[in-house]
């Protein structure tokens, strides 16, 4: 049994929340630059230019790229041969969030109760999703999620008869309703199947993939590409000012589902597609 110290988890989570907020992942930056080259509409090209410049300033100044430094979404994949010592894993993660948001000068955007709305002042708690996997590694992914885009996300329980067309329509309708609000160009996470809760989790989890990582199933990989083309025919464009680049990428994850159901969840992510991971 491999032992991992809770203190190490805190230290790594602290580092990840800070780095995620300052440094846009390389694949996202490349996608923005490629989109700019392909964008022929002047205002759209100029807007993409400013978004790229912003990411460069954030990196050079070691400053948050967006003032909404998010709620910390954390995915933990824990090998079944790992044992955490000297503390409870959840406390260790939240301590890392607390220290990272304070020291990293990140905005504290979490309220302790959704209706009484008092700020917890340290951005805890994180939203933590655990899975147990084979092996003796502990993988932690930290994704600060802004709510301008999170608020534009939707879930629907489709009828099985609505099928593929129903899924496509729902994704396009969600992007249409969101319009300029989620800071396009967006990244779209789609979860199909499972149950009500699983579909939403799949949609969120898909956003953790790198841009060159297509779904392993060729049918769904093709659907990722097709949906991106359809979304980029809407004309919403960067910031909703008009243009081709409404989205940079569509990710799909699927799961077996019930004979009576076809859940579909669409999680919208802004251009500040922030995530960092570590394997311990």
């Amino acid at each position: 049994m491999k032992q991992i110290d809770a203190g190490l988890i805190t230290k790594e989570v602290k580092r990840l929340v800070m780095e995620a907020n300052y440094f846009l992942p390389d694949d996202v930056m490349e996608a923005l630059k490629k989109a700019k080259e392909e964008e022929k509409w002047e205002l759209a090209e100029a807007t993409l230019d400013k978004i790229i410049e912003n990411a460069e300033i954030a990196k050079n100044d070691v400053a948050p790229m967006c003032q909404d430094t998010g709620m910390a979404i954390v995915f933990v994949e824990m090998g079944q041969d790992v044992r955490i010592v000297n503390g409870y894993i959840e406390d260790a993660i939240n301590q890392g969030v607390r220290e990272g948001y304070e020291e990293g000068l990140l905005r504290k955007s979490v309220v302790g109760d959704p209706l009484n709305r008092v700020n917890t002042k340290d951005n805890t708690p994180a939203v933590i999703n655990y899975s147990i996997v084979p092996g003796d590694k502990l993988k932690i992914t930290v994704a600060p999620k802004g709510f301008g885009s999170e608020n534009m996300s939707r879930l629907k329980m489709l009828k099985p008869a609505e099928g593929l067309e129903g899924v496509k329509d729902f994704v396009l309708e969600t992007v249409e309703l969101a319009g300029p609000n989620p800071c396009p160009p967006i990244v779209i996470g789609v979860g199909i199947g499972g149950s009500f809760d699983r579909a939403a989790l799949l949609a969120k989890k898909s956003l953790m993939r790198s841009f060159d990582d297509y779904n392993n199933n060729p049918f769904y990989a093709d659907l990722e590409k097709e949906l991106l083309e359809l979304v980029n025919e809407l004309g919403i464009g960067p910031q909703g000012f008009g243009g081709k680049t409404t989205a940079l990428r569509v990710f799909i994850e699927y799961y077996p589902t019930h004979i009576a159901g076809l859940p579909v969840a669409v999680n919208i992510q802004c251009h500040a597609t922030r995530h960092k991971e570590v394997v311990l």
Binding site: K50, D61, Q67, N151, G235, F241, G242, C270
Partner: protein, 187 residues
């Protein structure tokens, strides 16, 4: 077309602005978002005086990150504006002339903008590190207990925004997309 504006605003300053114009703002503007708007409108409903003078003012919908030592403000990009839609018309009635945020406004706000000759600008959502460079000073002037959501008076120099809703009823979120799609058909 690039234009400049200096605060405080007058209705005449805004009548030539058109949806899609790039505008650079210089002068003092206020920051406020959800919680501060709720308090401001509660004061108005009680017939009490506001802690800021909104006459000819611009309110920027932002909750910045904490500043680094020696800097006036942290990263400071716009938040989504529709959450302020239920409060904005009452502030426009008090003489507010400009709002900066991102995303669509409701019909009631758009109608009030036309009625008052006001304007709604968008700053680039997520361009918080870039925008920060145009903010030269910042001072919390009300609701300090709200932290990032407190009302700040900030001095900006050439703060870059785009006109979304002008005083003539135009909306860039509708016209920009329409023009792009028409251009696409022809090219």
């Amino acid at each position: 077309m690039k234009k400049t504006l200096t605060t405080p605003l007058k209705v005449e300053d805004l009548k030539d602005l058109k949806a899609g114009d790039d505008v650079y703002i210089t002068g003092y503007i206020y920051t406020a978002r959800d919680a501060a708007h709720k308090r401001l409108v509660e004061l108005l409903e009680q017939g009490k005086e506001l802690p800021i003078d909104v006459e000819g003012a611009i309110i920027y919908y932002v909750g910045p990150t904490p500043p680094k030592e020696g800097e006036p403000i942290g990263s400071a990009g716009p938040t989504t504006s529709y959450r302020m839609d239920s409060y904005a018309p009452q502030l426009l009635d008090q003489g507010l002339l400009g709002m900066i945020g991102k995303g669509k406004r409701g019909q009631e706000v758009k109608d009030k903008i036309v009625e008052k000759g006001a304007v709604y600008f968008a700053a680039i959502g997520g361009a918080a590190a870039l925008i920060k460079k145009t903010i030269k000073s910042a001072e919390v002037i009300a609701y300090e207990d709200l932290g990032a959501e407190a009302i700040r008076k900030i001095y900006v120099e050439d703060f870059p925004v785009t006109v979304i809703n002008d005083a003539h009823g135009n909306d860039l979120y509708e016209s920009g997309r329409k023009e792009y799609l028409e251009w696409l058909k022809e090219n």
